[in-house]
Symmetry: none
Subunit: 241 residues, 4 copies
DNA sequence: AATGAATGAGCCTTCATTCAT
DNA sequence: GATGAATGAAGGCTCATTCAT
């Protein structure tokens, strides 16, 4: 009996690993509902019942994928911080954006992670709470601290919040998406272009930061903040799509 | 199902209208694949075969919903332009952002439209081509023109493109989404807060525009663009999530 | 009121006629189940409910088509007889086969009738009893009489029955059918070829008849089964060219 | 459903076999479109999804049935040839017809095959090409060779073709069909009657063959081919159902 | 008299899941 | 432990028929 059996537990864990790998790629490509269990198993070279066996059910496999993603994102978070060590606060911000974009748009093994997250934002699953708490919030807090320091304001200040949101929005929006593919088909993602985009985002963010810097820091407001006001008087028709 | 039985005389095209209405809401909520025909018909108080009769099939109904959305978006596009008429170019930009946000975040009848568009960006259907050509491109072109003029550059200049993308990214990111709901549960969407956000986005955008303005315009580049370069020398580990 | 109404009863009967016409063609092409009521109504330029209104339901329309077909077949039966009047019995048989094939294979208005009958033989409906009694049996009886006389046997004799069946089988088998279309794609149906085929069928049938002719007619051999040989030697005088 | 529960150990491929068996019977009885997947599964004691699992879809099951039929027909083809080995060409023809009729009309397992083929002739499916190429053409070619040799003509000669078609037509027409059932309800199919019919068909065919035999064989053409012409002078009304 | 709209049954197919080796 | 087979619940769609003008 034992003689005829094939590779022991090794095969077991190997199948499990291949399942998670295939599932990660497919879930990222087409979302939880867009992928069938059979498809995952076929790609992983496993039996249909393997998912049920290893992960109880489809959602169990998905959660495992999410856990893997969170783990990887935590590593990235550390890298984001580490890369900026030793530089000025502005440099830390620039580095954060640059590295973030590289992870986000790079062709590397990690790109599926953010695709998966985009999917969670469109169709949240129970896994989203975990993702937010473990992976996203730490980064947001780090960025808050940077921007807050640059602005001379509390990290919880509304203006800081909005700047941080804006930076993330711009970065996420750079991800390949069918709308921009149609609007600008020639969009390039070479490392060189990536750096250009990162520099652009950092530049605009820093310009905004300077414009909103607290006077207490010894800078006089350049007026940008106030210049928006006059528009408020303009009568704008609301809510009539 | 509906306690108040519907007017018997309202038969003509009334069912069709209710189907489109229910479908718009449900498709926006859960996407094309996330909604069943039976569900739409139940909500609309119609028979399962009604969709086939009026729209040939599920996709036909979806396309009708999309057409309705595009129509509404075109109206909004006109409003975006009209609201800025008479003001300076900067004012036009501020007004554009403000009105756009109002449409995007308003509780009004039109909010489903942008939810639908977000869905298209995650899971494109054949309808996306139509949406991009009829509804999105015109707005992007208008914004390109504004920003290009403010920067003293061609509307097709890469920096203009990135600024326009950034503005749209920030606005779209303001939409209610499960991640920000978890990060900042207290997010407010009163008209007053809307205006604050709009002013913020405009302020940052204008600060960025000034920082990138072409020297030909008589302004000296403040160096922000170049200041990002030194970071490039920083060694950044790539692709290791 | 009356002023605004369109063409009176004339339109009614006209619609009915068009329905029967379209139904006849479509039923013949694709069978009872292969055609939808909507399709018939579309072809006839009538409303979906017209079939229900004029014929109670789909089967009612089909029966009407069958009645029309039977009527036409009765006319043809008369023509089959009439065409042979005045000739010898052999000539009557040749004429029967020739005219039958013309009706069966001709491109004329009547071809649909036999296509419909083929369908009934594959998927009988309640209409088949009517068809057999009203249209088929008379022809078979006529052919029995001819062959019986030529063979010097009773029209109910088994050999007569088989010969009659064989003649009909050969004729029906000439109808366009997907198998022969694949076996011999170049099959021609010009009037000239039709006549050739008819002559062939008649010739073979008459050869068989002579081989099976009753001894009373002047032949000694009654051993039909074994006696295939003697027939070969028989000199059969035909009309001299 | 089936009172005698099936053996538990018989799971392996047993369901698949029962599905093909039930499908063969039902498809032969009522055609591809006339049978529902649910019905087949009910008859086979299987789940609705079993067809999808084993054959991908309804057409896949149908094709499997067709393949089975073709296989059986090939066996029959060999039997048709083998049975005639050693005899004269005429004997080979007689044997062919006799064995063919036995397969065609026998109550055995194979009768459904020809019923299925009749269906294909009425409503062709993509499977027909396969049937014609694999099962029908070889038989036709064999029969062509026999008849051609007996007639002293090429197997592709038009007269040979028509004789072969006629033989097949007569045989096929013997199959139970609703029209002849109504015309001659007392039709018998005992082996004895089968042989009688086979002899009849062979006798008529051989009589026709002799009548059309090429003069090169030492026979003078009896003029049959030309003798049919005079009839052409008879005025026959065309195309008037 | 005649129509556009509406109905409900039923069909094929898909899918996640579980069973029985 | 791991697999091929089997399951039942939907899902989208079609169709003949009927309803309400």
């Amino acid at each position: 009996m034992t003689g005829a059996s094939r590779a022991p537990a090794a095969s077991d864990q190997e199948t499990r690993r291949r399942l998670v790998e295939a599932a990660a790629r497919l879930f990222a490509e087409r979302g939880f509902r867009g992928v069938t269990v059979r498809e995952i198993c076929r790609e992983a070279g496993a039996n249909v019942a393997a998912v049920n066996y290893h992960f109880r059910n489809k959602m169990g496999l998905y959660l495992e994928v999410v856990r893997t993603a969170i783990e990887a994102m935590r590593d990235t978070s550390h890298a984001l911080r580490a890369a900026g060590q030793g530089g000025s606060t502005e440099d830390k911000l620039r580095v954060y954006i640059r590295v973030y974009l590289q992870r986000l748009l790079g062709q590397g093994r990690a790109s599926w992670i953010h695709a998966l997250m985009q999917r969670e934002m469109a169709d949240p699953t129970p896994a989203l709470d975990l993702i937010v708490d473990e992976a996203i919030r730490p980064r947001v807090d780090y960025l808050r601290a940077l921007v807050g320091e640059l602005m001379g304001r509390s990290p919880r200040d509304g203006r800081v919040t909005r700047l941080v949101a804006g930076i993330h929005a711009e970065c996420l929006f750079c991800q390949p998406n069918p709308v921009t593919a149609r609007l600008a088909p020639a969009f390039r993602r070479s490392p060189r272009h990536l750096d250009e985009i990162a520099d652009h985002i950092a530049l605009v963010a820093l310009a905004g930061i300077r414009a909103l810097r607290a006077p207490a820091r010894g800078r006089t407001d350049d007026g940008a903040g106030r210049s928006a006001r006059p528009v408020a008087r303009t009568r704008i028709p609301r809510r009539d799509p």
